[in-house]
Assembly symmetry: C2
């Protein structure tokens, strides 16, 4: 299977070229969905698709598809690759773009090698994966999989007051195709890990078998403001201490979990926030993730029980507000095994792993067998100009994607 390889130089050159487009006056990479920068990135991608001889299609939500339809494959469902090219503010150049550029590269390498698939192969750039300007994130793939009505999505008002549908028209990417017009036979997304695991463990590739479910909660702890000097420890209802206990509890639970649970308290505010006053109120957020639905429920339940106990023990009033929730996604086992097999044949180390971040793949998973491939992120850093993956790792990931594509596009069923 390893007689064909992608053109690593072209892959890198395109990532850099795309990464140079959509910079602001301060040099920051900012290609928010529907913006002028997004248009420039899209134009470049469409230009590459055309040069590669692919059919270009754009759907109503602005998702762009480059489709290779060799003669005789027209009646088969296409294998779809892809990711997104919109970015956060002050982004790195790999997040999303790597999966899109590598998808195109795989198709071009296979075309050049006269590979004959039995089905079309398409590469997709989904609209507004980042969700910075328009909520929710992963919007293009969500609409594509009919998880969100296209008209509702198009009427979304952005943080700057703009309407997504008008912005897509303005930049020339309000396409004609109905979202979902290509029903994928399977979907494979190549992405940087955006976490530290592969690098720390010295492993070249991740075969992503699932994606964490997320529960976001806001917890409000109410105690009693009192003088820090005159109130004995055992007469305090200290909201800040309550918050500290919650943070420590979440950490200990996650640390001893048998599943890859992560729990994070990212926001915390105290009132009155004065050096000599016992905090009367603490407001904190909990970001809880686990790849298994039952575990996520188990952890949410355990947190609830802990909060009840804590409130009783410390004379606090504790209330919880659910801010957001998404279910875990299990990817397709056969594709995960293909990824492992392809890595092994190329002599690359590989481990199964869980995606801790959200990706377009999770939206496509309900409508097609789906999996993801991760490559190492230097320092685990992403959403940051310091985001980096070595050329060797990028090329290795693209070659494994290509081998998986050859496999899937040669067979009648998975």
């Amino acid at each position: 299977m390893s007689d064909i390889s992608v053109d690593g130089d072209r892959l890198l050159m395109r990532l850099k070229e795309l990464g140079n487009i959509g910079r602001d006056a301060g040099g920051r990479l900012v290609r928010l969905a529907g913006s002028d920068g997004d248009k420039l990135g899209r134009d470049l991608f469409v230009c590459w698709l055309s040069q590669a001889g692919l059919d270009v299609a754009v759907d109503r939500i602005g998702n762009i598809f480059g489709i290779w339809r060799p003669a005789g494959t027209e009646d088969c469902q296409p294998l779809m690759l892809g990711s997104h090219i919109d970015t956060v503010i002050n982004a790195g150049i790999y997040d999303g773009c790597y999966g899109v550029v590598a998808g195109l590269e795989v198709i071009q390498a296979l075309k050049a090698a006269n590979f004959r698939p039995i089905r079309p192969i398409a590469v997709a750039a989904f609209t507004n994966e980042e969700g910075v300007r328009f909520a929710p994130d992963m919007m293009g793939s969500l609409v594509y999989a009919r998880g969100l009505d296209v008209d509702a999505a198009l009427s979304t008002v952005g943080t700057d007051g703009a309407i997504l549908g008008e912005e897509l028209k303005r930049i020339g990417y309000a396409g004609a195709e109905a979202p979902g017009f290509l029903k994928p036979f399977a979907y494979v997304e190549l992405h940087i890990e955006q976490g530290p695991v592969l690098e720390r463990e010295g492993i070249a590739l991740g075969a992503v078998e699932n994606l964490q479910g997320i529960s976001w909660q806001r917890i409000t702890v109410e105690g009693t403001a009192n003088h820090a000097g005159t109130t004995p420890i055992n007469m305090r209802a200290d909201a800040g201490y309550g918050a500290a206990r919650i943070i420590a509890y979440l950490r200990e639970r996650a640390r001893s979990s048998a599943t890859p649970t992560v729990a994070t308290v990212g926001c915390l505010e105290l009132e009155p926030n004065a050096i000599n006053v016992i905090p009367s109120r603490a407001t904190l957020t909990v970001d809880l993730r686990d790849p298994f639905e039952h575990r996520l429920k188990e952890e949410s339940g355990a947190l609830g029980a802990f909060l009840e106990m804590l409130a009783r023990e410390e004379q606090l009033l504790i209330s919880v507000e659910q801010l957001a929730q998404s279910s875990p996604v299990a990817f397709n086992r056969e594709i995960v095994q293909m990824i492992e097999g392809a890595a092994e044949k190329r002599g690359l180390t590989c481990r199964r792993m869980t995606s801790g971040a959200g990706h377009d793949a999770q939206m496509i998973a309900p409508i097609a067998p789906t999996a993801m491939i991760f490559v190492p992120s230097c320092g685990g850093i992403s959403h940051n100009p310091a985001e980096y993956t070595s050329k060797a790792d990028l090329v290795a990931g693209a070659n494994v994607l290509m081998d998986v594509v050859r496999h899937i596009s040669s067979q009648a069923c998975i």
Copy 2:
């Protein structure tokens, strides 16, 4: 000793009258040092002193003294009572004023009963105890005890840009006497507890045997910002978790202390303070108090050792900045015993206790045998319009003060 009693009605009426003076447009009690409101309060107090037939003296820092000098006592050092009548913003009516009004009440009651002390008895209202407008707090008593140069104190610039010396001149309270002109034989300060202990324990009076030393520190915990989803728990350097561990550590240490240690984390801020980002930095304050110097040092040292251990364990950088520090004060044992004896004779419950807040008494302690008497604060609330002590408790405290005054002012030495 209990054949004479104070006039409880007059005591209450004066507290209320003083409490109605210096209200802002919103009805809040605001008699900041050197302000127009302060002038009104001072004028009323001086009027009462004159009506009571006392000599009135004002020193250069604006401390006001009402002195009862019965014939034949002129050569003796005066027994001094007192507290302050300046307030915080939106204050209650008891903090400080109670000690001043009760001191006057005690003198008037003794005069009316033809009590013959062997030494003069003075009641003092010290300038700027609260320190809200001009720092430091307890300034008048500190200057009086020569702990701060009077000219330096007078040149203090307030939060509103005003200079204390000019403000005292403007309101007519830049006196002629040198601070310390009356060398007290002893000093006794009656005050509301400003904490919950007496009320919760159902005890009428506190014989205050010492006053906590205070250490204020700012701790900065530096970790690494990372994605809340993609960073496994064991690969995190979570500054927020570090802060939580510090809060929990301080609580557990204080809870198991053999001395009345209190530790409070009143301020805490996280960066970047985003729901899905592991905090890279936590800034928190520590207010640590103990009535014994060696224990305060012990606790500070233990905290330092804990922080080192925590930094190592959790891959954090932790730095500490000392913001303020004051030594504990031990009050005079004989006066404390007199307070206990007087309470017992009046059939009042009494416990020895530590002052968790700062008071003028701690400044006078270096120059004279000193102690304090506390009465219960409803709900432990102070620096708040809800500050409240029942008439019965206020009168009981004033009567015990009177009995202690009779005792001390009848003897040649303590």
